[in-house]
Every structure is written in structure tokens, then in C-alpha cells.
Symmetry: C2
Subunit: 414 residues, 2 copies
Amino acid sequence: MKSVGVIVEYNPFHNGHKYHIDETRKKTNADCVVAIMSGNFLQRGEPALVSKWSRTKMALEAGIDIVIELPYAFATQKAETFANGAISLLNALHCDEVCFGSEHGTINEFIMTVDFMKKHQETFDKYLKEAIKEGNSYPKAASLAYLSLSNDEKYLDLSKPNNILGYHYVKAIIEQKSKLIATTIKRTSAEYHDEVFTHTSIASATSIRKALFSTKGNLDEIKNFLPETTLSLLTAYYDEYKQFHQWEDYFGLFKYRLLTSNPAELALIYEVEEGIENRLLSTIKVSTSFKDFIERIKTKRYTWTRLQRLCLHVLTHTTKNEMLNIKENKSASYIRLLGMSQKGQKYLNLIKKKVDLPIISKLSAHKDDLLHLDSKATQAYLSIFPEPLRSKLLHDEYSTPPIRYNEKNNFFIQ
Amino acid sequence: MKSVGVIVEYNPFHNGHKYHIDETRKKTNADCVVAIMSGNFLQRGEPALVSKWSRTKMALEAGIDIVIELPYAFATQKAETFANGAISLLNALHCDEVCFGSEHGTINEFIMTVDFMKKHQETFDKYLKEAIKEGNSYPKAASLAYLSLSNDEKYLDLSKPNNILGYHYVKAIIEQKSKLIATTIKRTSAEYHDEVFTHTSIASATSIRKALFSTKGNLDEIKNFLPETTLSLLTAYYDEYKQFHQWEDYFGLFKYRLLTSNPAELALIYEVEEGIENRLLSTIKVSTSFKDFIERIKTKRYTWTRLQRLCLHVLTHTTKNEMLNIKENKSASYIRLLGMSQKGQKYLNLIKKKVDLPIISKLSAHKDDLLHLDSKATQAYLSIFPEPLRSKLLHDEYSTPPIRYNEKNNFFIQ
């Protein structure tokens, strides 16, 4: 059985994602498509719109065969760490290929650029340091350093977000000495950060979320951009839980947490650096919303995304110490299975014996440092629900087996 | 000007408290009555029903001349520490007397009992240790040890809650070498812990709170037990803030806090001892309310009150380290003025020059370790309000001067 991996957030799943899955199958001729998906919180430091369970169902109905949770320790990080975690999971699952969407669209330049960068690492680092000294944020500085190094057209345009991710996937494959073959599909439309609709059936997840929150659960405006399954799963989620998740929902907890912490405690939190804890503490008192808060502390160096991630680690109380082993190992230590189709199950049965990491079906049976971070993240994610719903969902998280999807007759078992 | 101190919670102010003030004036012939009052959280480890500002108004209208906040570090502790803080504040304010309500009703036996206990401290400690070893809670063990030591009628009945407090007031006066003269008034009815109404005009604060919560802000059932001012202040509070405060309102925050802390961090919290942090963590997951939670962890040794206090310190994130200097100093380091009548203002002007502690009118101008605990407590107390109300009230706490009450024309300035 040939398998291919995709690395996703599905926040929420939309027609662009469906296109990516279909093209991936066509291009790779794979029998089994494995998705490594962020869990409760996403790479930009935000809560997922709906639970990972709901997003797993969206993925399975759209043709994904296996959904694996990317641990919090990787999912909420800059591209390099995010990529390291995701690629290590595809390795562990013995996938043959990985196929990612990119603005660039052909794979050779990714490999050439990684190679080129490896050769010029020192010069790049020097430029990077200079650009950071000039007060640029890390991503901006990296982009400037890269431009100084080479503006040759044979290399990638690393100002594009999906090119950056792809670059780090390829780099991780090489560094991890992985057998994964990388391929890429050109993204046809809808830029990652688009906030308005510019296409008739494909829109960015950002613009879809924006519409969802402004219409308070009314899906009419976005229905052209989502598969029917996503639409009905989103409707079901809103009906059952009375909300989609966004940072503002967590602001009350976040503010409470900050205001009952002292600077020394905050300095232990991951990504809280350079004395920013004092600015967090003085600013939070007068901030009446999360947006208000971030706007007050945002600077050229501290981008919105960097601040969101940092705030997320405050919310989940993730310390530098807890993140330490990630920095050292750069790879996942378990495989958290969220869902599978019948084909996915067959694939897992085939590879099971040669998989070196524990495959986690039920959380309650396992202990692991990384898993503890996921567990805290889930607890924070569920904290906005009223009781007894909150306790019920927390219990489900520990006791529920993965979602099984019968793709022939189109139904779920959970 | 002669001054007398009373030590109170006023949660809420009721006819029994009014009787206590009037009898105190009669008995002591004092010109000025100073109340040392708990702030956001009370001795039994609970949030105050309404804000300290509202309770200050109740007190001023009923004849109190000066309202001073008993710092969190004393207000939320066992009787001994509570008494030490309160008596140290009355000392600092150069009060002539202190007058407390007690079941016993005459002062001599308090002094004799303190004296007797001092002489038999070692034997008492031995009995206490034995009783604790047998699995009794601290208050139960203390009561048993005391009974073993003496059942002579000339000593106090220290199984009564107000006798216990009075005993510790007198003990603190002696230990602090204070010039305060202690007097006591016999409580005529309504036991401290009564949950039902047994009298026509006096009821315990416990029974009043119980009725308030069960009728959701409807005050008809309790109007006979409260002065009109209390009634209208309670109504105004409910109209403005849509609630009275109780532990259940803080359960969501508390659960979030526990679930995103690890055992080692919890063990740093004040009163978290003997590995109870592990039981807190395993129990909170399945608990759907505060009551549910306490009932699950309550044992013979861990009484409801002890657990409530411990949970409160978790909620406000008060560490053992932060409480350390209290244990050592046993006295307050500032005087936080919440309100005063014109007579109270006159008294303060008279004594101002000989007061050794800073008198705090506006929080924003001061820094102090104890004050920091009060500040965190306020932040936790206000955390259940929606924005922008929460930010407004927090701002008020820092910037608002004390309430001034014109007793002749019966109006407030704040």
C-alpha cells in the first residue's frame, strides 16, 4: 500500500483543502492519505474554530484515511519546529511521500534552496543577526537576510507563507535523514492570509473564519467555499456548543491568569523573553479585549503571531522547561490517532509492527511529557464551556477511541 | 476623642450587627467606632457576597465611623492569625478599646482562659498533637485538647465560634503588649452557623446568604433581618452587577487554574500540604461544581473551611513564600482606609501624626508585599465580571479614594 502524508490545520476544512487532497492522490497514486493535523491550538497561536474531533470528521469525509494529532509542542511553533514535528510523525508512520501546497508549485527549487542555504548558513546567520538588531521581527529579518543572500530566480520566493512551510518540510526531511519523497502542488488561488473572497469556490480559511464570526454562526455567506460535510459539521457544532472558538472567548481566563501571576513566574513561560512579562502585566489591567491587548503591546519586533503564541503559552501555562526536550529531540514521541477510514485501518495494521512510537488510541492509558502538554491544552480549550458540559468533554477526551469512518457507507463510529 | 474597635465581615450587614454597634457605643461611651473589615474574601475562605465598597457603605450608614480593610493575608486565615492582624490594626490606629460579640458575654473568663492556657501550653500542645494524630481536624483537635485540659466552668466554652475569636483577640492583645481594653457583648440570638431563621429580626449572615442565593436576588424573605440601607444597597448591587458572589461563580476559573498547574507548582501554594495537591488534581477533572469538588475531597481532617481556604489560595495564587512574612511579623504593615464618616475623619486627623503605619487612601500610590496580595485578591474577585465592567472596576480599585459619609445629611461622597 502506498501512502502519502499531508500536513494540515483544517480550520475549517474548505474546498481548497479538498482540491489539495484530490490532487495529492492524482499526483502520487497513493492508496492511503495520512493527515498530520494541529489539535486544539494552531500554528498562529489561536484556538481552533471547532474541536479536533469535528475537524477530524471533516477530513475523513473528504478522503483522508488517517488523522494524527500534531502535538501542541510542535503545532504552536514557528515553521521550523512545526515542520520537524510533522515530518517526524510521517517518518514514524512509514509514509512514502509527503505532498504540500505551495505558492511556488514545483519541488526542485525547494531542494535547491535548502541546499543553497546549508552552504551559506554562516552568511545568512550574520545577515539575520543584523536585521534583528535593526529591530525587525524574526520572520521579517529572515526574509531580508535571505534576500541579501540571493535574489536569483532559481531559488524560492521565501516571502510566501506556504513556500516557507514547504522549505522547512524539505529541510526537516534532509536533516532527519528521512526516506520521505517530497512533492508539491501549486496553490491555485486564495492566499493564506486573504481576508476577503476573491474566488467563486475557494477561499482562505482566514476569510472563512472572519465571515463565520461576523455572522454568528450563519453559514450562508460561506457555503460556496465549503464542502457540504464541513457545512453540516459546523452547523452541528454551533447547535450543540453555541459557539465557535476564538481568542476573545479565552480573554477572561487569560486576563485572570496574568493578573494572578508575578513577573518571575511569567518569565518561566515559553517564549516570554527579554522582560516582556512586565509589559504584559502592566498592559493587561487596562485591556478590555484580546485584540485591544495585542494592539497595545505589538511592536515591529513582536509581531501579532509571535505575541499570540506567547499568550497561548501563558493560557496553557506551558513553561520553558516543559518545552526543553522538544528543542533537543526535534521529533514526536508518540502517535495520537484521532480518526481513520477502513483503508486507514488496513494501512495501520500493515505497518503496526514496524512502528517505533506508541500509537495512542485512548489518552487515559498513556503518560508522556509531550502528551501532558496536549492534555493541558485540551483542558484550557474546554475551559470556556459551562458545567457539566466541560467535564463531559474532558472525560470524552480521555476515554474516547479514535473516530472510525466507513467510507463505503459514509458513516462514523465514535 | 474616645475610640472603640470592632472586627467584622458584614457579609452582609444585618440587624445583629446593628445591635452590636449600638451596644458597643452604649457600653464604651466611645465617640468613634472603627471597624476592621475583611475585604474581597472572608475568614471561611469564601468570596464576599458583595464588594467591600458596598459593605463599607452599609457599615457607615449603620454608625461605623471608620472602615479599615483587614488585609487578605489575615482575613482568610484561622482565628489566631485573623485576630493578630485585626488587633495590630486597632493598635496602629490608637484605639482605646475593642468590643466583640461572644456567646459567653463577659470579659473576665476570656482573660482567665488566655492566662490558664499560657500556663498549660505544653500540656495543651501534647493533647493537641494526640488528637491530630487520631485523625481530627485542627479545630476539632484543639477543642478536644482544651476539654482534656479543663472542664472547669470558670473557663470559656471554646466550642463556640465567637468565643474562639474573642479568645484570640484577647490573646493577641496580651502578646502584642497592646493598651487596648477588651470588652464583650453577649450575642442574644442567631448562632453563627444557623442556616434557618429562628428569630423575628435577627438572623445569622449564613442564613441570610442562603436565602439570597435561593431566591436569586429577591429580598422579600430576608427584609425583616436587614436594615433598610443594607436592603437598598443589596438591591442596587444586584441591579448593577447582576449577581451576588459565591464560590460557584469562581469554579470555572478555579478549575482552569488547577488543570493548568502541575503538582510541584501547587505545592508552593499556601496551605497546600501533605501531598493534597495530587488529590486536588485528580478530583477536579470529574467535579462539575465547587460543592461537588469539596464534597469529594472532604475528610475528617480536612474540614470544609480548611479546604475552602486552601482553594481560595489556589484561586488567588497565593504562595507560601508570599505568606511567609505574615507568619513572622504577625501584624499589618499598612492601614487601608475604605471609608469614614465626618467624625471618623476628625478622629484620623487627631491621631494622624502618631500613626506609624502608612494610611492608604489610594492604592495606586503604594507598594507593599501584603498589599500585593490584596491586589491579587481583588483581581481574582473581579475576574467573573464581563468586560469592560471588569476593567472599570479594577481601575476604580486603584484610583478611587475612600468613601466619605456625611452622617448629618446622610449622603456618600465617592
